[in-house]
Amino acid sequence: MSTDVEVKTLLIDEKEVSARAGQTILEVARENGIRIPTLCHLDGLSDVGACRMCLVEIKGSPKLLPACVATVQEGMEVSTATERLRTHRRMILELLFAERNHICSVCVANGHCELQSLAQEQGVTHVRLPYRNPELGVDASNERFTLDHNRCILCTRCVRVCAEIEGAHVWDVMGRGINSMVISDLHEEWGASSCTRCGKCVQVCPTGALFDKTKVGSDHPKYPDFLPYLNLMREAR
């Protein structure tokens, strides 16, 4: 077996870094202490580039690339925190807040929500777009957990953890565009679905869309950091 590793050298925020071929810009940035904000990415799951929070600028390219799926190239010059990117990130967050009914003050995830803390970090003090106020349901049919579509940002972490880690693939996304909805099985009630009640989806959900029924008020920290360890243990077997 060859141990040769193809090395790429590139610039991230004017810092010279080296990487293995095939690594994503996000991985390499993190290895070098450069923080790129993310929302749909989660260590231990595949990446889908859905939320666009991690968009970066590449010198010579008119397009912005999602750092979680874009792989490093030799000689690349990456910028992760330009004013243009900050403007886009704020707008993405505002669009997410406007799209569904995120009422932070009465949300079970208040104080433990990645959408909320990203908004604060990115300096979002208000939403410039009119709120859509959609009428959305809450599925409380599962004996242990609740799905509140009002808080869902369609990051698909639940879909991926259920399919890739639990192996049950209960969750999926129905519909297109603004009408997209997370569903269990073929749009059954969650309680009547093939769900194994493992709760992984709840732990990886970045907002209050999936929560444990025993949690009340805003006392719902989540612990998604079990995933890399679980993967490591499985690979070791």
């Binding site: 807040f97 009914n101 932070c104 003050s105 929500c113 003090t125 208000h126």
Partner: protein, 177 residues
């Protein structure tokens, strides 16, 4: 130098922001050295003054009366501060938006009562179809999210506004704080 004129107003909110404002406790005395409170639910002035330097507005715009008030406040205020999540996002009052005012009124005043079922129509102002944050009606100069913003947030923000110093809101507070 004459004191700045400070006003506070209460649209569709729970008054929690005003309570939190009062939680500044002894710091209110320092504040009183720097500003005159010319209009507020906690003082006995009924008419919004012609010239106000800083106005803190609590609550979302939910009724025709709220809309009239916020337009009047804007017209007579130099620096308008959206105080708290209701003013900034619509927050809890906006939870009726997907359902609409008629269904809510019927539920509250017709379906859930045992005597004198009737939807109030005298004196109380007509509800708007959609509850909206104040910046959807008028220009807002400063957004102070939080439910409610803490007393420390009020103190830091007001101190900066009075002194004309820079203000980093996200370092102080957030939605739902």
């Amino acid at each position: 130098m004459s004191k700045l004129k400070l006003a506070t107003a209460w649209l569709d909110g729970c008054s929690g922001c005003h309570m939190s404002f009062l939680d500044m406790d002894e710091r209110l005395l320092e504040l009183a050295e720097l500003v005159d409170l010319v209009y507020s639910p906690i003082v006995d002035v009924k008419q919004y003054p012609d010239e106000v330097d800083i106005a803190l507005v609590e609550g979302a715009v939910s009724s025709v009366d709220d809309e009239k008030k916020i337009r009047k406040i804007r017209a007579h205020t130099r620096t308008l501060v959206a105080m708290g999540d209701c003013a900034v996002t619509g927050n809890v009052p906006s939870m009726r938006n997907p359902i609409g005012p008629q269904a809510i009124l019927e539920r509250a005043y017709l379906e859930n009562v045992t005597a004198q079922a009737q939807i109030p129509c005298m004196i109380v102002p007509k509800l708007l179809p959609i509850v909206r944050p104040i910046h959807e009606f008028v220009k807002v100069d400063v957004f102070l999210p939080g439910c409610p913003p803490s007393a420390d947030t009020f103190h830091a923000a007001l101190t900066a506004l009075i002194q004309g110093a820079p203000l980093d809101i996200s370092a102080l507070t957030r939605f739902g704080a």
